[in-house]
């Protein structure tokens, strides 16, 4: 569903330009507001819609198969850690509100800085283990699976 931008709501801040994975939200030079320069390369991913601080962007179903008159709106709130959707059908009979969490931690707080954790030992470097392993595989004392530990062989040809 290609996006479009409401003239009266957009202030040209460029958040949508910064985020669109398809590089199709651009600022119009004369109007100084954003618009979708290439609707046929829009994935209706809603990244720009979620990023716009003024709810200026909306989506109108692709002209080649989606009739007019529906609406799917969203508000994503990093502080609350939620995303809220509202879906309205074309015939007005269905109107749904759906809410989901987007994170369980204060936003941006929980990823580690691996430059600061204790450096891996030589044994670890020479092993098949990755960061946090083997602990993070089973969350207890089990080791990494190997062919030997699992009683396996790897053999050439049709084997089944």
């Amino acid at each position: 569903m290609p996006t479009f931008v409401y003239m009266t709501r957009c202030d040209g801040c460029g958040e949508c330009v910064d985020i669109c994975p398809s590089d199709i939200m651009h600022i119009d030079k004369t109007l100084r507001r954003a618009y979708n320069i290439e609707p046929s390369m829009c994935w209706e991913c809603y990244s720009c819609v979620k990023a716009c601080p003024h709810q200026a962007i909306d989506v109108r179903g692709y002209a080649d198969f989606a009739p007019l008159g529906h609406s799917v709106r969203v508000i994503r709130d990093e502080e609350k850690g939620t995303i809220a959707w509202r879906i309205k059908f074309r015939n007005g009979k269905k109107d749904m509100e759906l809410l989901a969490p987007i994170t369980t931690k204060p936003w941006g707080s929980a990823t580690p800085d691996l430059g600061k954790v204790p450096a891996p030992s030589k044994e670890m470097r020479d092993s098949q283990l990755l960061f946090n392993e083997p602990k993070y595989i089973r969350m207890d004392d089990g080791g990494l699976h190997t062919l030997q530990s699992n009683g396996l062989e790897i053999k050439k040809g049709v084997q089944y």
Binding site: M1, P2, I19, P21, S22, D23, I37, P39, S40, M41, C42, W43, E44, C45, Y46, S47, Y62, A63, D64, F65, A66, P67, G69, H70, V72, V74, W85, F89, N91, K93, K94, L98, A100, P101, I102, T103, T104, K105, G108, A110, T111, L114, P120, Q128, L130, N132, Y136, R138, M139, G142, L144, H145, T146, L147, N150, L152, K155, V158, Q159, Y160
Partner: protein, 630 residues
């Protein structure tokens, strides 16, 4: 042209494309290389780039070893049968034995994973899938990657890899341009981990006009992982193994949760079960080893995805379409109805928009399904990608040359869609592969394998000229005509893409020909491809945005050419339902129980094809009890 050249020097690990594979690589690289210089070059913004930009509602690859659910070899067995035997079992086992630790890290970083309240384990959608509230999956993993990186260069479209001039076949970095400023960026690096993703939009899509962006895989999946590596002379594998998806019509909304969790099922346009009647004839084509409905009913051996497509395609051709997903039963339960909608909002919003626009309420109406145009990628139910080394403790000699996930170009590693023979990795497995590649890349550097790399100014300048040539072509020729897009001296990227897609569709087995091709068609197609290749030297870009599209097209072209060569080479129909070789309609285990491997000579552009042996894990008897999916 007045664009500056910006050189980033002394990089140890350059991550090209930070989707799920690339973020995994950047994250892990910091642990093994705490003093190393780690840089990301990404064509979009890593906070919302790649196939997971809009989020996911499930992590499709999780063993649950912690909860005693599955062992890695169980997953290998599953991926093997789903891909009709054609997988790299060393790479798959390796991915599967590590994947849980990636998921446990995600949970710690704040990704909401649903729990099975009774068991305390994660809520299963199916045997391998767990359910998440994954709207922010990508920003969460990107945040981890960012913390691990010295620098993140967003909005750099990488066009070429740089090659070492002191040692043949060794990588030395990459070049590209900034899609906003237009500046030329040079990254000199000891290693490159390529995570630039799979390819949508190389076969003509079913959607037309304004809707052309509604493809199943993201429209920005430009095949760059393949384009970059093929151009550098890396060997590729299983590029014929494109995938066709059975999805909700037009919106291409995911069906996994519908089948597995909501227990919806399909029927033909007349309300009949149709699948089983196509199986006896299909069994004749592929053999009982690959299709045995009885065994599949008794055990949890799946019926391969391609074979289920085959039944849909044939039922529709027999005039009994459309295929419907029976949702009316499940959706009477309000809880399941909510999951059905959340599932779209979490990963394919467009499907929700489409049903709202067309008043399709799955509670009262069974929606239509369709089979998509083919896609070329390596992390979903298919395994296209680079021919990579496996880990030393698992891999037989033919699959091992020193460093895990290293391609046949020294110092060039892959992750996710970039790596061949590893289907069913999905988001979590792609991230895991990135981690594995990063550890190996650090080791490669520490072993002194990257010493003495030399990149001349001549190479950098030659690439610079190539990068901007489409802008040059435009400025030289556009004023010869009054106005408009028709010019005798060039084509624009959209025109080139249309031609590529039409050719792939008609000669290489797209939906327009019911996925059918043969040796004659493929040979004609290859001839036309080489002429398109000549025309792409004359592709013109009127601005920097179009320059991005021009380079995406060139990467899609290289990917497609490889698909043609591979499809011609494998003289059998291995995956009915993905594509058919009309001249050899049977699966042939005698001659083709092998992996296909290609190399394009970077100097001449000539292809050489070879067969590589298939190894299977044996000695494993399925011990795990059937998993209760609820």
């Amino acid at each position: 042209m007045s664009y500056s050249t910006i050189i980033e020097d002394n990089i140890d690990i350059l991550v090209v494309g930070a989707g799920l594979g690339g973020t995994g690589a950047a994250f892990e690289a910091r642990y093994w290389g705490q003093d190393k210089k780690i840089v990301i070059a990404e064509k979009a913004n890593i906070m919302r780039s790649g196939a997971v930009a809009q989020g996911l509602y499930a992590i499709n690859c999780y063993m649950g070893t912690r909860f005693g659910e599955n062992n890695p070899e169980d997953h290998v067995r599953y991926a093997r049968i789903d891909l009709m035997g054609m997988v790299r079992e060393d790479l798959l086992f390796d991915m599967a034995r590590h994947v849980d630790s990636a998921v446990h890290n995600f949970e710690e970083w704040g990704l909401p994973i649903m729990r099975n309240e009774k068991k305390g384990s994660y809520l299963r959608e199916g045997r391998w899938q767990i359910m998440i509230h994954g709207e922010s999956y990508k920003p969460i993993v990107a945040d981890a990657a960012k913390k691990s990186s010295d620098k993140v260069f967003n909005r750099i479209c990488v066009t070429h890899l740089l090659m070492d001039e002191s040692k043949e076949n060794r990588v030395a970095g990459a070049v590209g341009f900034n899609v906003r400023t237009g500046n030329y960026h040079v990254f000199k690096s000891k290693t490159v981990i390529c995570g630039a993703g799979g390819a949508s939009n190389i076969f003509k899509p079913r959607s037309v006009g304004e809707g052309a962006g509604r493809v199943w895989y993201a429209p920005w999946s430009s095949g760059s992982a393949y384009g970059l590596m093929i151009e550098a002379g890396a060997k590729m594998t299983q590029m014929e193994n494109r995938i066709v998806l059975a999805r909700f019509k037009d919106g291409y909304g995911p069906v996994g949760a519908y089948f597995l969790h909501l227990k919806t099922y399909t029927q033909n346009g007349y309300g009949e079960e149709y699948e089983s009647k196509w199986f006896p004839a299909l069994q004749q084509m592929v053999g009982k080893e690959y299709l045995d409905p009885e065994v599949s009913h008794r055990t949890h051996r799946p019926i391969p995805t391609c074979l289920r497509n085959h039944a849909i395609i044939n039922e529709v051709n027999a005039g009994r379409g459309p295929i419907h997903m029976v949702t009316m039963e499940a959706f009477q339960d309000p809880h399941l109805e909510e999951i059905g909608w959340h599932n779209f909002l979490g990963m394919t919003v467009g499907q929700a928009v489409l049903w709202a626009a067309t008043d399709v309420d799955p509670k009262y109406e069974n929606p239509e399904l369709t089979t998509s145009e083919p896609y070329v990628m390596g992390s979903h139910a298919t395994g296209c990608g680079a021919w990579c080394s496996g880990p030393e403790d698992l891999s037989p000699p033919e699959y091992f040359w020193g460093y895990n996930r290293m391609t046949t170009v020294e110092g060039l590693f892959g992750a996710g869609d970039a790596v061949g023979g590893t289907p069913h990795a999905f988001s979590s497995g792609s991230f895991t592969e990135g981690r594995l590649a990063a550890k190996a890349a650090c080791k490669y550097i520490d072993d002194g394998k990257a010493e003495g790399i030399r990149v001349s100014d001549a190479q950098i300048n030659r690439r610079r000229e190539q990068v901007y040539k489409p802008l040059e072509t435009y400025s030289v020729y556009s004023n010869e005509v009054v106005a408009g897009t028709v010019n005798p001296n060039f084509i624009n990227p959209r025109q080139g893409l249309d031609r590529l897609q039409k050719m792939m569709d008609e000669y290489c087995g797209g939906f327009g020909v019911n996925y059918m091709t043969n040796d004659k068609l493929l040979n004609i197609g290859l001839k036309k491809m080489s002429i398109l290749g000549e025309d792409l030297e004359k592709v013109a870009a009127s601005d920097i945005h179009e320059l991005l599209r021009a380079w995406e097209l060139k990467h899609r072209f290289l990917t497609s050419e490889s698909v043609f060569h591979h499809t011609l080479f494998r003289k059998e129909t291995r995956w009915p339902g993905y594509y058919y070789r009309g001249d050899v309609m049977k699966l042939d285990d005698k001659d083709w129980h092998v992996l296909t491997v290609s190399r394009r000579d970077p100097k001449s552009g000539e292809y050489t094809m070879e067969k590589a042996p298939l190894y299977h894990l044996v000695g494993d008897v399925e011990k795990a009890a059937p998993v209760d999916h609820h």
